[in-house]
Symmetry: D2
Subunit: 336 residues, 4 copies
Amino acid sequence: MVKVGIAGGSGYGGLELLNILLRHPQVQITWISSQQHAGKNPGDVYPNLRGFLNLNFSSVETLPASELEVLFLALPHGHAMKIAPALPGELLVIDLSGDFRVSDPAVFQQYYGIPLTCPEEQKGFVYGLTEINRARIRSARRVANPGCFATATILALYPLYQEGWIDGPVYVDSKTGSSGAGNAPAAGTHHPRRSNSLFPYKPFAHQHLPEILQLLDRPENPLVFQTYSAPLVRGIFASHYMRLHKAHLPQEICSLYQAYYGSEFFIRWVPDYPDVNFVRHSNFVDIGAASKDDHLIVWSTLDNLQKGAAGQAVQNMNVMCGFPEQTALDTAPTHP
Amino acid sequence: MVKVGIAGGSGYGGLELLNILLRHPQVQITWISSQQHAGKNPGDVYPNLRGFLNLNFSSVETLPASELEVLFLALPHGHAMKIAPALPGELLVIDLSGDFRVSDPAVFQQYYGIPLTCPEEQKGFVYGLTEINRARIRSARRVANPGCFATATILALYPLYQEGWIDGPVYVDSKTGSSGAGNAPAAGTHHPRRSNSLFPYKPFAHQHLPEILQLLDRPENPLVFQTYSAPLVRGIFASHYMRLHKAHLPQEICSLYQAYYGSEFFIRWVPDYPDVNFVRHSNFVDIGAASKDDHLIVWSTLDNLQKGAAGQAVQNMNVMCGFPEQTALDTAPTHP
Amino acid sequence: MVKVGIAGGSGYGGLELLNILLRHPQVQITWISSQQHAGKNPGDVYPNLRGFLNLNFSSVETLPASELEVLFLALPHGHAMKIAPALPGELLVIDLSGDFRVSDPAVFQQYYGIPLTCPEEQKGFVYGLTEINRARIRSARRVANPGCFATATILALYPLYQEGWIDGPVYVDSKTGSSGAGNAPAAGTHHPRRSNSLFPYKPFAHQHLPEILQLLDRPENPLVFQTYSAPLVRGIFASHYMRLHKAHLPQEICSLYQAYYGSEFFIRWVPDYPDVNFVRHSNFVDIGAASKDDHLIVWSTLDNLQKGAAGQAVQNMNVMCGFPEQTALDTAPTHP
Amino acid sequence: MVKVGIAGGSGYGGLELLNILLRHPQVQITWISSQQHAGKNPGDVYPNLRGFLNLNFSSVETLPASELEVLFLALPHGHAMKIAPALPGELLVIDLSGDFRVSDPAVFQQYYGIPLTCPEEQKGFVYGLTEINRARIRSARRVANPGCFATATILALYPLYQEGWIDGPVYVDSKTGSSGAGNAPAAGTHHPRRSNSLFPYKPFAHQHLPEILQLLDRPENPLVFQTYSAPLVRGIFASHYMRLHKAHLPQEICSLYQAYYGSEFFIRWVPDYPDVNFVRHSNFVDIGAASKDDHLIVWSTLDNLQKGAAGQAVQNMNVMCGFPEQTALDTAPTHP
């Protein structure tokens, strides 16, 4: 049994990590932290976990780094960079925040509004988009877990960028559920405001954009990236609009994606259209497309707390620890 | 044109007052206050009102009492009692908070957790349940506008209490939408938490209970009152369970309510069952019932921001000012 | 008082017409039809209208054309074309369906899947996008009321197309609430399926596309139009992505829209971002934009049953009858 | 591996059975039926299951009874009674419909509106409320799986009825999510109608009442049972109001429930208040209470498709097959 700790266990990312790791047969959760709820049992904070965990939240200062084998950092942006440099080199660290995703400190500061205080430390982190970076993740001791929007868009566009099919810009219209904003009540997630609403935010400035551009960097294919708040709780639905150098048959498009993802358990090619409904509470990404002449629309959808955060973090842990990659993640999405 | 002011115009009660009064042909809104948004236009705070009001929020300290004819107080509990005693006697004041609804200061303190600092002032207030107290409201200069739950339950039970039909206790199971909690984000109205949820709160201790008991006070019919948070935005749906001294035909029950409310515009007897859906954005209360043997269930539903707050406040203003009672309130509920 | 009839009064479009016309001071509703509910009062079908209308649904065959001055056709696609040719020439007819919006019968058949049986009749219809076609509507006796998606996209793009600012294709990502699908239960509007969902439909084939292209027809600016089902009840939120021939300052973009719409009551330029929340239950269209370099995103939002259907229909009636254009439509949007 | 079949696999009950059984290590699903979708893969009907099951729906007529060890019947009411009599005696049969829950055929007909065609067969069925009837279920070959409302109310009231604590009637106000109505679109589950709604149905006549009364039958404690449609997808929240013979301390009430359920994995006593949110996608029932003087309110909440249907059915299968009772059901509820 691998000994696992979670710093920031009372946010939605931490909660989802607990929920997944509780059913992981090769893992023992031995330390969890929460500044706000130190001393409480997770079941007191999230009653769904009542009775499931005989372990209370500690303060993050008590981190028993030498007694852990894997540490998940599920803290707000800006905190992991304070903790990571002092961690033992042999500890496996998976950071769910944005702190170590962006390699250029100037770009980081531009999008996150704070400086990256340990750029050298950042160099030790592998970007944890498992299906793209699996080999590097396997031997990594530090993984920067991708953002939810970034995972949806990179996986949707990667084959097209790799093969150079796209002619000109790509427009990304990506809609998220309210759980992506975290568990702290705020104006944009106030129920009377968020129910029955739909509104854009952070045009041209969303902090997931730089990590996308690190992987999808082609000057001839600029990426316009726009996020929206939708009145659902879980889920990212990303739409990608573009022109191709030439028209392709649906069959050819499908074949392209099969060539890249055909052996991937967590990526499903959808013959009709994806729907947030059918990936919920799972680590799956459903991808589909429609085309006419040289116009192409690619859709991807995922659960922002699973493949968009905690699910992919556990997937990465499985890869790093040599466990079967689907361990604790192989259940079907739930519906309704 | 009557000159009207609203203290606390940026809460949901104040917002709804603005929305209603903007279509009132005999009223001019000349002063609105908001501590949080002083200096801003209502349309900057609530973009639905963009372009509708050429008047900015002031600080409540600027209250031009002598220049107003009607003043609505739509402040959080505890604030009206600080303002009311200094107001000119001839000003018509309608308070939407709970401050002046409860005549016994000890009971007020028990349920509201704060002392009533001006019990003498309270004696000058008439309880503004229009259909029950219309005559007294007509000549009043101070009205304590009822709570949303109280309005739903008093109107549902009043004929039965008045006629002494009930044998033993009455159980009230009342469900509310999230807008009833106001416009300040909080844990219970966080979208990921409130969507798809259902949970009780304040058992035996809800602050609307004492104002109900003031009107429905029969020792032989104790009232058990329980409130629930439901995942809707607007609406109160109240269920009332009881036993009658004898079985009554549906026709007799209907006749009882017709006798009390048959001439009331805003109270509709519903032959099948009420639904929150069909009173939304209106000042209507729909009431219906089902019975078997001597068991009776009475249901009432209303829009908590209209008949449960601002709508009834304007209804009371109409009565106090001698306007037709339905002015600005005669539109049909909206659906879907 | 103008005598008005509504064919198809029990669909959501007809229901919204009733709700609006009930508060119209210059109109008397004298005939309403519903095949499914003939003989019933609207209040029996839609309990929100209980008590508001002393008139029952008739069968559409009873249409008293000679006794009406205005007739709204709110029937499913394919029905208006059967009725319209026999109507008296002097009757003012406003059709809310798609039957008469598309001038090319071949295009109509391609998108609607049925033939246009009366192409000559179609020529008599003016396309009822009030702000664009006001002058022609004023003298029209037949108006084809626009589709909800079409209204949102045409108004958002019209100034840009007129001025020739756009370089290359425009991508439209438009999200709709469930009421747009009508009041007949179906798989895509089943509550367990639609709640918390997000999914695309009809790629490259939505029937509102041809009416958009009739007004926004520039071969150098092809339009890719994609619709989505979002888990809200009312509202269209349309996103438009494009490149401009050159970069424009936000101020210039705002000025362009002010030049076109500055005097329009129902079109509001929004300095930050529009939100479905703030146009609900109103005839307003809120438009806003964001730009970076030569990339531009324009957003428009409206209530699909108001400006997207019944509201615009009444706006058109007001224009045709010489009433003030805002009559019965001048109330503020509701929130929350 | 036990060979399992599911008749009616394309309803929500069948879908949830598939989802649970797919993670059951001692079970192999070898036959599934759907009249509507015969020939299709479950993943074509419910895309969340895409890739999970290499088995297509058959017509129910193909039932290979002799090749199965366990058969779940997840058909609409009235169908199981046609199939059950011909099934081999040694086959373990778990019926999720109401057909075999009610022992008195006259009562069955009164509440279900159809006759029970095989009353002798019914006598062979054990009522599958696991925590109450575990011993009898262990040796049963036929189990009638309880209704969702019945499970919530029986578990909430059983200790009180057993101990005779209640004085007079019990009022049950039980709210359900839309998935309880099944996967066929209908007026009451139409998204524009069901969102933001709350309405009662079937007063004094809900078909779950007779199975409740079979277990909670005390003439001095009549039960008034009222169901409501709430705008959530999954979940039952049941409120139970009553008077006790004498006042009990909260501690005593807790102790009573601990005495009955303290060793039950799936029943959790909740010190504050239950919430539908915290049992979702799990087989748990959360129970809590509030009291004042001799008045008691007991709340229970469960997921209607899990403990209210498929979860309890698998729990019963585990008991019947001698598997650990929590197998495939031991995951934590999901939130948010």
